[in-house]
């Protein structure tokens, strides 16, 4: 067992600072283990969110040495051994206390998005026939564990704070999951362009890089959605057809 220095941000909405802890680190330790050890032995009231401790629930998001990470999937021995490990709350959301941030905005955005609406069932028992190939597209997006690391890293939210007009990568993945579901009938294109502000995304792919589930957010979700927006809103031929059919948006 060896001792590692951790610098953990502690404070609340009024401010805070990095506090230094020396922690004994067992074999195979992840950052969350070290935080738990600090909690048990040195700071009982250190605030942190966690649940599954296996990368499946997306609760323990934080910034480890400045990078957005799940603390439960970040091995201590994978970090540079010659310097202290810093652990800070996600910067894109307001701090509640210590490593816990107020992520309620994400829940509000999601609730505002047009819900899933299936076509009539194919069979009397209420079931649908779907091909594996067709469901796999949305299944990729449904791997999302809502850790909000993609939201944390996105510069439109992180640096420009456009929370009031930009839904962020998590919610484009959520929309893409419905739009590409083989039985969904909803159309969320106008919403994407207006309220959800997909145009602000300039596809720097930062979100894809930090996704712990390996979802290809930019290429598979955002770009196809942007294409739909362009096709429906700016394609002159489509506009003409819409005008003739009288269903302009």
């Amino acid at each position: 067992m060896k001792t590692t220095t951790f610098k953990v941000w502690q404070g609340n909405s009024d401010g805070g600072e990095l506090k230094t802890y020396e922690v004994e680190v067992d074999q195979g330790y992840v950052v969350l283990d070290a935080i738990h050890r600090i909690q048990a032995e040195q700071a009982n009231d250190l605030a942190v969110r966690w649940n599954c401790k296996a990368g499946k629930c997306g609760s323990c998001s934080a910034e480890v040495n400045g990078s957005p990470k799940l603390m439960c999937m970040t091995r201590v021995d994978a970090l540079p051994a010659d310097q202290p490990i810093t652990v800070e709350p996600m910067r894109t959301f307001p701090v509640v206390k210590d490593l816990v941030t107020d992520v309620s905005w994400n829940y509000e955005v999601k609730a505002s998005i047009k819900r899933f609406s299936p076509k009539t069932a194919d069979h009397g028992d209420g079931s649908w026939d779907m091909d594996q190939y067709d469901v796999e597209r949305s299944q990729e997006f449904r791997k999302c564990i809502e850790c909000f690391l993609c939201q944390d890293v996105c510069h439109v939210l992180r640096d420009h704070q456009l929370h009031d007009r930009f839904a962020g990568p998590r919610h484009y993945v959520y929309v893409a999951n419905m739009e590409m579901n083989p039985i969904d009938t909803g159309d969320r294109v106008a919403e994407l362009r207006e309220e959800l502000g997909i145009g602000y995304c300039n596809i720097t792919k930062c979100c894809t890089k930090v996704c712990p589930e390996g979802i290809t957010i930019t290429d598979n979700a955002i770009i196809p959605l942007k294409e739909r927006v362009v096709d429906q809103s700016y394609d002159p031929l489509a506009r003409l057809i819409k005008l003739v059919k009288g269903s302009g948006d």
Binding site: G28, A40, N44, F116
Partner: protein
């Protein structure tokens, strides 16, 4: 008078895992106003960890399957201590509950015909588990969450209930505090649905997260609800054992469903030894026959790795005790060997078991497509819980209090089959929500009593007022409790250890009541742990008492001093209730006689 906010609903649901969400959706659909309370953020509850699948006799993969076979499998798996009416309803209603999820946005893996695909699992006669790779629980909770947020349900996240409130003999709501600021909220409700999940944190090695402190069990018990089957705690045979920091994390039974085999340090497939008589005829004789079963040969019988969890867990422990364990005290679980039968086995494994691949790669540095995993038993699930009416899910003794999912008892008897928890929470979550809404509509409003609320607030705040330096602190005390339960009430139990455990629990209780928590009311996990400890101690006492009383080994309950099943115990459930003097009282209750037609099904299915 204390300061608290009062919130009023027809139905309050406590817990937002699968059961709680499904109950809230149903109650709201039936027109009730619904408040949903959860300790974590929405969508993070333990349902998210369920991996292998949801059991439902859809008969999409094998048309010989039907609710009757599912019913008989569940009863056999539970060693016939199950509430048979719940097992019947569960088997009948699970297919519809699973299908409706796709109408809410779920996308299960498909058969070549485009139907919902199903996989093999322990104790299920046919491929029965609808699934999405090995992340079925995530699919279910997200589906219920995304549907539920449009149903007019008020969700109270990161709010913990510390007491149920009563109006005379009737449940009238709950007192809770928010984790963020420690503000108190009194929920006034005509019906309360308990859906708080399990008790895994009472043990040292567990697949459960911090939340599973038996709150629902304990809160209900303290207002007069009966608990039943508390001696039956499921130790899942395959948890990770190494490195130490991941000990207990679940390795899905889906690994064995996809052909994974168990070996000891001598390379022997020890599961072929000591096959229980109940399963002798349905188990393969040779590895070759076992493999044919895995790939869908209808004539082949299942490999012994797919026997029920109680048996597999005991077999692994035996190998370790007899010196044939893996280097870190487990057994080897090998899925990589299927390369002998399958071309591109590496891709196949990554596709069928993506999170297992990821989990071992990241946390243990093991590539499961090439090397075996080390696994051992981990505390996973409480078969026991709040005793309920099988149809309505209302507590047998507290009107207005309902329970569903893991915190309710009856369906699983002495041992739960894999996949039956996800179907349990859908079927009985829906039923609890429906009957709670009906109860609320048919009954007069309740009244909250200020004295009850004041007392509950005082109790909740008292750890903050005490000196935190007086004892080892809440985490260490919890650790002592977990040690005690693991050693003396774990996978192998005996009279002496259980008697000691009861005494030691009394001592821990006294210390916990005097325990102080440092810090303020603001998001203070130390304070929260002090409060959660009270629930843990109550459920620990229930587990130990019932384990001591049942002098036989059956299902998940193993007694070193009573190694065999005793037919006399085969018709009896153990019921616990708080006595008038505040002490826990235990009584035996004979299981009601099973109707002839259900008995016939059991016999026909062999």
């Amino acid at each position: 008078m204390t300061q608290h906010q009062v919130l009023e609903y027809d139905v309050v649901v406590i817990g937002a895992g699968g059961a709680g969400l499904r109950a809230a959706i149903e109650a709201a659909t039936k027109g009730a106003s619904v408040g949903l309370i959860c300790k974590s953020l929405l969508g993070k509850a333990h349902t998210v960890m369920a991996e292998g699948g949801v059991a439902a006799a859809l008969a999409n993969v094998d048309d010989r399957d039907s609710w009757k076979v599912h019913f008989a499998d569940t009863m056999r798996g539970g060693h016939y201590l199950n509430a048979w009416r719940m097992a019947e309803l569960h088997a009948q209603e699970a297919p519809e509950r699973v299908r409706e999820l796709e109408g809410w946005g779920a996308l299960m893996d498909r058969t070549p015909d485009g139907l919902i695909n199903q996989r093999n699992f322990g104790g299920h006669a046919y491929p029965r588990l609808a699934h999405v790779g090995d992340r079925t629980g995530l699919e279910m909770i997200r589906t219920l969450q995304d549907h539920g947020i449009h149903e007019g349900i008020d969700v109270h996240m990161e709010v913990t209930v510390s007491k149920l409130l009563m109006d005379g003999g009737r449940c009238a709501g709950a007192l809770a505090y928010d984790r963020e600021r420690g503000r108190f909220k009194a929920f006034k409700a005509k019906a309360v649905v308990m859906a708080t999940g399990g008790i895994g944190r009472a043990f040292l090695v567990t697949s459960n997260s911090w939340e599973y402190t038996g709150d629902g069990h304990a809160l209900a018990y303290h207002v007069g609800a009966e608990l039943v089957d508390m001696e039956f705690v499921q130790f899942h045979p395959t948890g990770m054992v190494w490195p130490p920091s991941v000990r207990g994390i679940l390795v899905t039974e889906g690994v064995r469903g996809e052909g994974g085999i168990l070996k000891n340090s001598e390379g022997r497939r020890f599961m072929f030894e000591d096959i229980p008589p109940l399963y002798k005829e349905s188990t393969a004789d040779t590895p070759e026959e076992g493999w044919r079963y895995v790939v869908g040969d209808r004539e082949a019988r299942r490999p012994p790795e797919l026997l029920t969890r109680d048996h597999v867990a005991r077999k692994i422990v035996k190998e370790v005790q007899e010196g044939r364990g893996s280097p870190h005290g487990g057994a080897f679980l090998d899925i990589a060997w299927i390369k002998e039968h399958i071309k591109d086995s590496e891709d196949h494994i990554k596709k069928k078991l993506p999170s297992m691949y990821h989990q071992f790669k990241e946390l243990a540095g093991i590539d499961i497509t090439k090397e075996p995993m080390e696994v051992g038993p981990t505390t996973h699930y409480a078969m026991g819980g709040i005793r309920v009416d099988p149809d309505s899910q209302m507590s047998t003794t507290v009107p207005g209090l309902f329970a569903a999912g893991e915190c309710a008892a009856g369906l699983h008897g002495a041992n739960r089959l894999g996949g039956n928890s996800l179907s349990d929470l859908l079927v009985f979550g829906k039923r609890a929500g429906e009957y709670a809404a009906e109860f609320a509509a048919g009954n007069t409003p309740v009244h909250l009593q200020d004295e009850q609320i004041d007392l509950a607030v005082q109790e909740a705040l008292s750890p903050l007022e005490r000196d935190p330096g007086a004892d080892v602190g809440p985490y260490r005390l919890q650790y002592e409790l977990q040690h005690l339960m693991q050693d003396k009430a774990g996978i192998a139990r005996e009279e002496g250890g259980l008697t000691e455990a009861l005494d030691e629990l009394q001592e821990l209780k006294t210390r916990a009541q005097a325990m102080g928590a440092g810090g303020s009311r603001e998001y203070n996990p130390g304070w929260h742990t002090t409060l959660d400890l009270q629930s843990l101690l109550t459920v620990a006492e229930a587990v130990v008492m019932a384990s001591q009383a049942r002098k036989e080994s059956r299902g998940a309950h193993s007694r070193l001093d009573y190694l065999d099943k005793d037919p006399e115990w085969g018709t009896v459930n153990l019921v616990l209730k708080k006595g008038h003097d505040g002490e826990m009282e235990l009584r035996r209750e004979v299981i009601p006689e099973i109707p002839e037609e259900l008995q016939k099904i059991i016999e026909e299915q062999g």
